[in-house]
């Protein structure tokens, strides 16, 4: 075992968070630089991981293994495959930009940035875990930072309700998955939580069919699956900007990632058995989410429901259980994460300046904040699946994949592209173009340079991935091939 790069990546934010929490009160000026340095380091390390992941070799790499509780088959086992790498890079990006756009938080900044860092540790940990127990350990770590950040810094009207709803839904999801996980543990011949051993445990088909819904649905609640999606818009809207970015951009991916890693990869027979049901629910996600997004009057709710819609596409990709679908789902996880983080950051910037999220009372912001406008349009184009951007290379394989198993799902869910285009264009026109309302005239300023950097970084990744899919497709492919082996071999 060489340099424990995954552990370092995971624990840098934890360390930074502890330092900020314990000493931030006395040294207010240190808080933001520490958070920025930590998040930059995380981004850098995740990029290094991306660069040094060997695609020829494929499989899980950067393995770290320390026995933790050998009697119960629990170990500190880290490692990532291609999909994991993409998720780590996504987390690095969102945390980094989240710190940038939160720079001006004045209310109890030490707590804010330290909780943000704890949240980052939790998410990075889940993406790197190769042990089921460890995965839950990291997953549950996020409960209190999420809740406290929403109720302390969230939007005053709905934060108590939204925060509690989100936390309880996510907790329900995770304990539902925990029941399934314990059942998997119980059924495994070696009595282990080790994901690599469990992948080859050869569970009986009956056992897989019984427990798959627990694990998959439990984690998919975290990913916003219909009908348990309503925490997502309410929670995202109640949350402060950086947390909305992390929740929608990364936490929802945590859910579907775990649903893939634990649900589909450990219980492939169960996945085959239940795939139709997942397709049905996910199709409702896609279409219903898009339609609901269209009728929202609140800027942030539009984005909240668009996340529900797009996450449905990821689930459709999973449920198609073939190369195209899984590849597209993996790409969509990354693409949507970056895109929605961009959306929420811009919504936050607009709200900070105008103090309203009511679409009807906004307008003409292009003149004042051109960068935000361009960023939003890029995000919007990704969201619509415009060729040349990351959304296209993600969505097309999903539709191709599902066409092969259930053409009707493809036909129905394609409707969402049109609806998405409609609501995005509507929002762009109403919020950024048209006339600037009188009350904003001369009162609001352009976004800061840090905000611009955040928008620039996020947009850059979507454009580069879109133009040069070769950067990410082979990476996701390694993970997908492994899943296909599992699906075929079972």
């Amino acid at each position: 075992m060489g340099f424990p790069i995954l552990s370092v990546t995971i624990f840098i934010p934890l360390l930074a968070g502890l330092i900020i929490l314990l000493f931030g009160r006395q040294r207010q000026s240190w808080i933001r630089p520490i958070a920025l340095v930590a998040s930059s380091l995380v981004l850098l390390l995740t990029l290094i991981l991306w660069a040094s992941y060997s695609i020829e070799q494929a499989g899980y790499q950067f393995i770290e293994y320390i026995p933790w509780l050998p009697d119960l088959g629990i170990s500190y086992h880290l490692g990532v495959d291609g999909i994991g790498i993409a998720m780590l890079v996504l987390t690095g990006l969102v945390v980094f930009t989240g710190v940038l756009v939160s720079w001006n938080i004045e209310n109890r900044p030490n707590e804010f940035f330290s909780y943000l860092m704890f949240l980052a540790t939790s998410v990075l940990g889940v993406f790197s875990s190769l042990d089921l127990f460890l995965l839950f350990f990291f997953l549950e770590l996020a409960v209190f930072p999420k809740y406290l950040m929403i109720v302390i810094w969230g939007s005053p009207k709905t934060r108590n309700y939204g925060g509690m709803k989100l936390t309880l839904y996510l907790f329900i999801g995770s304990v539902l998955a925990l029941i399934g996980a314990l059942a998997i543990y119980q059924a495994s011949p070696e009595r282990t939580f080790d994901l690599l051993l469990l992948e080859n445990a050869g569970f009986s088909p009956e056992m897989q069919r019984i427990w798959f819904p627990f694990v998959f649905l439990g984690f998919a609640i975290l990913g916003g699956i219909f009908p348990f999606h309503s925490w997502a818009p309410d929670g995202h809207v109640a949350a402060p900007t950086a947390i909305s970015m992390l929740l929608a951009g990364v936490e929802m991916k945590v859910g579907v990632f775990a649903a893939l890693r634990v649900g589909i990869m450990l219980l492939p027979e169960g996945a085959k058995h239940w795939a139709t049901w997942i397709l049905v629910l996910a199709t409702i996600n896609v279409v219903y989410g898009a339609f609901i997004a269209m009728i929202q009057k609140d800027f942030k709710y539009v984005i909240g429901f668009s996340s529900v819609s797009h996450m449905g596409l990821v689930l459709i990709g999973f449920a198609s259980l073939n190369y195209d679908g899984l590849l597209g789902a993996g790409l969509q996880m990354f693409s949507h994460g970056v895109m929605t983080a961009l959306f929420f950051s811009i919504v936050g910037m607009v709200y900070d300046r105008t103090h309203t999220r009511d679409i009807a009372s906004l307008g003409g912001l292009y003149k004042i904040m051109p960068w935000a406008t361009i960023g939003f349009i890029i995000g919007g184009l990704v969201s619509m699946g415009m060729p040349g951007l990351s959304g296209f290379i993600a969505e097309i394989p999903i539709y191709m994949g599902v066409w092969r198993v259930a053409p009707i799902v493809a036909i129905i869910s394609v409707i969402s592209i049109v609806v998405t285009a409609a609501y995005i264009l509507l929002v762009v026109r109403k919020v950024f173009f048209g006339d600037l309302p009188q009350e904003f005239e001369g009162k609001i300023k352009d976004i800061t340079i840090k905000d611009k950097i955040a928008i620039g970084v996020l947009s850059l990744f979507m454009i580069v991935i879109g133009l040069v899919p070769g950067l990410m497709v082979p990476l996701i492919e390694t993970g997908v091939n492994h899943i296909l082996v599992i699906l075929g071999g079972a």
Partner: protein, 486 residues
């Protein structure tokens, strides 16, 4: 070895109790000369240092390892399980002593600490008893000082009232328990657990009656762990008692109730595993629901955590009700982690109560602004109760749930999980109040003794939350020994 000979081994087996007795004498003597000493906290420091010394001696020299033996002619058992719970009680008492410092109504009263120490002796004996007479004596030795301690704030009517309630309830359940014991003795002709078991296996006790005895004893023990429906005393007693004592009741006293139940059930009722595990599983279910649902509506923070502690008795019972080594191990681990967690909770409540003069939940408003250190300790403790990593409560819950699955008690597991969701709601609400709304209140100085106690608790919560192996190996020995009763 004749029955009347006291061997070295006998003395060796009760070294901690002998030392505590010496400590009690020291405390009482110092109390006599206290007026000449300026420091109001001198007695509590002596008690604390004495207890620390005894803890060290016990932990370093008295771990029996894999050995199991009887002492005092079969009255008590020397094994890893009694060792474990003796340590739990000692640590609980030491931390309670620290929190009792600077409490003007108790800190200069020798009798308060003497009572506390007597109850430690009683509990320590409860953990080791393997004879009905010994067990009953130990239970009373524990209970009587606790009645006094709960009603110790004689200027406060509420404290006296709650002491009286606790006493009446305790006396009643003790009487029921004694009735059960007398039936056991009457039918088996012996007070030794092992001989009673032999009698039961020889079918000397009719099955119906045996079930009746089981019910009677469960009433007695159920009250000790504040499980439903014997929990009524707990909220009143916790609310009225001096807060450190409430913490002590909810941790050490509860833990001892559990070891007694475990020992009693696997020894005397080992031939009827279905009936007692089912009974305990039902009590667990009811305790979790009653505790958590009633906690949702509480306005008083001590009552809230009293109901939460009833619910936790339910979670711990899941492990016991599974009736396996893994289950006992899980319950013991839970109790160890819970010791530090709930002591921290009541410690923080005590300190906040001192500064605001209130023990309503609203007294916690803006604690994070007033005293961030205290609020963070509270955060850690509450999250541990809620079962969130990296704190002790998480692994404890996972372990009892694993035990439930292992024993095929899926329904109990699901009830436990539903309850942890309900519980998360009120834990988060308390945390929200602690961390959001702010009010201008003079912040209370946190004295050195309190800091030490809180630091120990936080350390305990985190250590039990991230390092599992050594403790579980130790508890493996304890629970295996407990199961191997002959």
């Amino acid at each position: 070895m004749g029955p009347n000979m006291i061997t070295n081994f006998d003395l060796f087996a009760i070294i901690p109790e002998i030392l505590i007795l010496i400590l009690i004498v020291i405390v009482m003597v110092v109390d006599v000369f206290r007026k000449k000493i300026e420091n109001n906290n001198i007695i509590s420091w002596i008690t604390f240092i004495g207890l620390t010394f005894i803890i060290l001696i016990t932990a370093l020299f008295l771990f029996p390892g894999d050995e199991m033996d009887y002492a005092w002619g079969g009255m008590i058992r020397v094994d890893a399980a009694s060792f474990t719970f003796r340590l739990i009680v000692l640590v609980g008492a030491a931390i309670t002593t620290l929190f009792s410092m600077y409490h003007q109504e108790v800190n200069n009263k020798g009798e308060y600490f003497a009572m506390l120490l007597v109850s430690v002796i009683g509990m320590s004996m409860m953990a080791a008893s393997s004879n009905l007479i010994m067990l009953y004596l130990a239970i009373e030795t524990t209970a009587i000082p606790l009645y006094v301690l709960v009603g110790f704030l004689t200027k406060n009517n509420f404290s006296v009232e709650s002491g009286l309630k606790y006493f009446l309830f305790g006396a009643l359940t003790s009487a029921v328990l004694l009735y059960g014991f007398s039936l056991l003795y009457g039918f088996s002709g012996s007070t030794h657990f092992a001989e009673i078991l032999v009698a039961i296996e020889a079918s000397k006790i009719p099955t119906g009656l045996l079930f009746f005895i089981l019910l009677l004893t469960v009433v007695g023990f159920g009250a000790k762990i504040s499980g439903f429906p014997f929990h009524f005393w707990a909220p009143d007693a916790y609310q009225g008692a001096p807060t450190p004592i409430a913490g002590y009741l909810s941790t050490a006293s509860k833990a001892i109730g559990f070891i007694v139940i475990m020992r009693f059930m696997v020894s005397i009722f080992s031939s009827e595993p279905q009936s007692w595990t089912l009974l305990l599983a039902i009590i667990a279910t009811a305790s979790m629901f009653v505790g958590n649902l009633l906690a949702l509506v509480q306005k008083n923070i001590k009552r809230l955590f009293a109901y939460s502690s009833i619910a936790h008795a339910g979670y711990i019972l899941i492990g016991v009700a599974s009736g396996t080594t893994l289950g006992f191990k899980a319950s013991m681990y839970y109790l160890l982690a819970y010791l530090f967690t709930n002591l921290a909770i009541f410690g923080v409540i005590h300190i906040v109560e001192k500064s605001t003069g209130s023990n309503e939940i609203d007294a916690f408003k803006g604690l994070m602004k007033r005293n961030p250190g205290l609020a963070l300790v509270f955060l850690i403790a509450v999250l541990s109760l809620a079962g969130i990593p990296p704190f002790g409560g998480f692994i404890s819950k996972v372990l009892v749930f694993m035990a439930a699955i292992d024993a095929n008690l899926i329904w109990l597991l699901i009830i436990g999980i539903i309850n942890s969701i309900i519980a998360l709601y009120y834990y988060l609400t308390v945390l929200r109040i602690t961390f959001t709304d702010s009010e201008e209140i003079e912040s209370q100085a946190v004295y050195y003794g309190w800091k030490l106690a809180l630091a120990v608790c936080v350390l305990g919560i985190i250590v039990f939350g991230v390092i599992f192996s050594p403790w579980l190996n130790w508890l493996e020995v304890a629970s295996t020994n407990l199961m191997l009763f002959h």
